[in-house]
Amino acid sequence: MNEQPETVFHSASALGAQVDTLFLALLGITGTAALAVAATVVAFTIRYRAGSKVNRNDPPVRAPWVEVSWTVLPLLIFMGVFAWSSAVFSQFYRAPSNAVRIHVLAKQWMWKLEHANGKREIDELHVPLGVPIELTMTSEDAIHSFYIPAFRVKQDVLPARYTSLWFTATRVGRFNLFCAEFCGTDHSRMHGAVVVMPPAQFAQWLASGPIEPDLVTRGARIYRDYGCSGCHEPKSTVHAPGLIDLYGSVVHLSDGATAVADDNYLRDSILLPKKQVPAGFEPTMPSFQGQLDEDDLAALLAYLRSMPGATR
């Protein structure tokens, strides 16, 4: 099955529709400006061609009011576009709280995806129609960029760090997924598809086929197997930060700074524990760099995110 051909004004996501409206407005503004300049240049060139019999008395070399207006008018228009664009842009950073999370791992030259229930895909991402989806992404090697043109979303995918991207698909179908950041020899072959399905059909698809234990269950197992629980459980005798209700909270650090306990904070705390030490604790935690792979980390993070529910 082929991906739907891309179009300029018919996006397939909720935010995409807003982006298209802004794009259309910019096209109108810039198109008008370009045509106005071109028409004026052509008109002057014809009217004032060498030898034509027209009035050339006192050609102006300055005209303060004209100059001020053609400086201020574009400025006002630009500031309007800037405000509008910033308002739309800030929504790219505000995923709805009910968004369904999917983990993305990029590597030369493929996309690996894992749903919360442990179902995995390669180079193909199935999502339900009308449900906000939030991708938590990282790369195993170079920088890649997760790009779905039909949704008007793109986000670089970095090694050793999580970036995220969210969208709500508004049309059923199969859409292009491209890598947009040059990542080496087969960069142009690092493409895939996003398949948008009606929710019921998606639920059926999600439940089908061989499924591993879900992420939270796997995370809980890693939490025990690697000895995290030995120190971080509330009943532990070791003085270590508690993990209940930690996710998303503000952490006070020993150097006086504060940090939000998001995916990147937790990732660094596991792999580079000395980077950010919470206030009141000794930096005794060992690094798990090299022991946990990206899949393990994704599972562990899913477990940490679920912590309040899991322990209550």
Binding site: F23, A38, P59, V81, F82
Partner: protein
């Protein structure tokens, strides 16, 4: 041989000041150094153009058929590295700037003639490194050298290429330093700052950017080579480095570099348009303020290359605001060029065709920049062909068009001979048409989501790519033509009078080609800039046969 011809050949000029190779390779004459630069950058232009030609042929079909993926990546990297650092950045300043700035301000030389010659040698050394890189098998990182790909994953000749670019950076620093001191110290009596031709203003502003920004590039490149060789973590996250940090450093230089390329082009247009409209440039003061505003604000917009890189949302919004602001002085310049035509007496001679072509293409390139300054739209368009189209409109449509316009305008002064006007007009039109046919479809491709740096692509994108490749063919003809007829004119063209266009500006007060010491009389007569307006038509229109020499 006509009498005119023998008169030209007998007159002393910088070209007749020694015929030996040594007299060229050890010259300290800014005019000869300009020619050395001109021949060098022309060589690199056609080398970079050859890479682009193979790219365009490969992209005629969606699949891989002409070259393999690795070679394709090396081709677009070579194209970018060569065109940016070995053609565009030196193009107007090192050739036309070197030749004209002392003449325009009534000086006999640049401030540091030996440094000027050293600049060309440093350029040549950098060029040799790049040629060795190509012969050794190329480099496949893209001209942007993004980490950690360039430091950890690319197994091509990254260090060699980086060393070449590092070296060539110093040639532009030398030239920039020279221009700054020359403009400050060597202006003729009466040549006040607000009498300077806008070409001098533009090159002065460019030089400031070069001197302030290029060292940052040099440091960044050193860090790449250092990390690649020693594996000390600077950009590599697995060693505690930060790959985004590289992007900040790189664009801190590379965005101002766009203005290094386009400001001198604006300067050229500001000389040609008043001459062929036969009236003073409109809003001279506003033009100088706009030039300086672009140079200053241009330093503060680099983050607009990084809206999807993972930098903070607030950083992106601030960079977006500043990017909209930097568009204002560019818009002012376009309006001023347009207003300069009002009540003029316009002759569409070949330099004017190039200059008006520059205005048109620069306008489209600038306006599409607004789409990319708008964060929400940029998320969709960045790293697609929309960006490729946008910067080619600025750098090729803008800079190359203006460079060629300048070469035509000052060719009689540089070589002392006229070129065939008809061929020049044919070339100007075919470049303009070919350019739009090549790059306009790329705006649509990008809006349709085709990512850049793609060796193969979805079949949906083929038709527009074919238009683009066809246009590249037309454009290539347009570029080969001037190579042929300008060289022909250099050897066989009709002798040029000192001022064939009846132009204002001190460079036209001396003979064509100028004597070694620039002016026969000690001080040229300095007046107000762009002293047109006596409604005398530009000469050269009917004053000579268009097809060049008859002898």
């Amino acid at each position: 041989m006509s009498t005119d011809e023998s008169k030209v050949l007998d007159r002393p000029s910088y070209l007749r000041d020694g015929y030996t190779l040594r007299s060229w390779l050890l010259t300290r004459d800014h005019k000869r150094i300009a020619l050395l630069y001109m021949f060098s950058i022309t060589g690199f232009f056609f080398l970079g153009g050859a890479a682009a030609t193979i790219i365009r042929i490969e992209l005629m079909t969606p699949g891989a058929d002409l070259v393999d993926a690795r070679t394709y990546n090396e081709l677009f990297t070579a194209h970018g590295v060569i065109m940016v650092w070995f053609f565009l950045i030196p193009s107007i300043p090192a050739t036309l700037g070197n030749f004209l700035i002392p003449l325009m301000i009534g000086a006999q030389e640049v401030a540091f003639p030996r440094l000027n010659l050293a600049s060309w040698y440093v350029y040549t050394l950098g060029g040799i490194f790049v040629l060795i890189t190509l012969i050794a098998g190329g480099v496949d990182t893209g001209w942007t050298f993004y980490t950690p790909f360039s430091t950890l994953f690319s197994n091509s000749n990254v260090v060699l290429a980086v060393v070449g670019v590092f070296i060539v950076g110093f040639s532009s620093i030398f030239t920039g330093l020279n221009f700054i001191v020359t403009v400050h110290r060597l202006r003729a009596p009466g040549m006040t700052w607000f009498r300077l031709p806008l070409f001098v203003w533009a090159n002065y502003a460019t030089s400031l950017i070069v001197v302030l920004a290029t060292p940052v590039l040099a440091m960044t490149l050193v860090l790449i080579a250092f990390e690649r060789i020693t594996h000390v973590g600077i950009f590599d996250p697995s060693l505690g480095g930060d790959p985004i940090f590289f992007q900040h450093l790189f664009w801190f230089y590379s965005h101002p570099a766009v203005y290094i390329m386009v400001l001198p082009a604006m300067g050229v247009a500001s000389e040609i348009i008043p001459c062929f409209a036969r009236r003073p440039v409109f809003g001279y003061r506003a033009m100088t303020y706009a030039i300086m505003a672009i140079a200053v604000i241009g330093f503060l917009v680099w983050g607009h290359h990084m809206f999807v890189s993972g930098q903070s949302m607030y950083a992106s919004i601030v960079f977006s605001l500043l990017s909209f602001l930097v568009a204002i002085p560019s818009a002012v310049k376009v309006f001023n060029w347009t207003a300069t035509l009002y009540k003029g007496s316009i002759a569409l001679s070949s330099p004017m065709l190039y200059a008006l072509g520059f205005v048109g293409l620069f306008t489209i390139g600038g306006l599409t920049g607004l789409f990319l300054a708008a964060t929400a739209v940029d998320v969709h368009l960045t790293d697609t062909y929309f960006v490729v189209a946008h910067f080619h409109y600025i750098m090729v449509g803008g800079t190359v068009m203006a460079y060629l316009g300048g070469l035509h305008f000052w060719w009689p002064k540089i070589v002392g001979r006229m070129y065939p006007e008809t061929w020049a007009r044919i070339a100007a039109v075919s470049i303009f048409v070919g350019f739009n046919l090549t790059f306009f479809p790329q705006y649509i491709l990008g809006s349709l989501g085709m990512p850049r740096r793609y060796h193969t692509y979805a079949p949906q994108y083929q038709l527009l790519n074919d238009f683009s490749s066809l246009g590249a063919g037309v454009m290539a003809i347009g570029y080969v033509l001037p190579l042929a007829y300008l060289l022909y004119a250099m050897l066989r063209g009709q002798p040029a009078p000192p001022n064939p266009w009846n132009a204002a500006g001190l460079e036209w007060q001396t003979s064509s080609p100028p004597p070694q010491q620039n002016f026969d009389r000690t001080t040229p007569a300095v007046g107000e800039p762009y002293d047109y307006g006596r409604s005398t038509p530009a000469q050269g229109q009917g004053a000579r046969t268009p097809e060049g020499a008859q002898s």
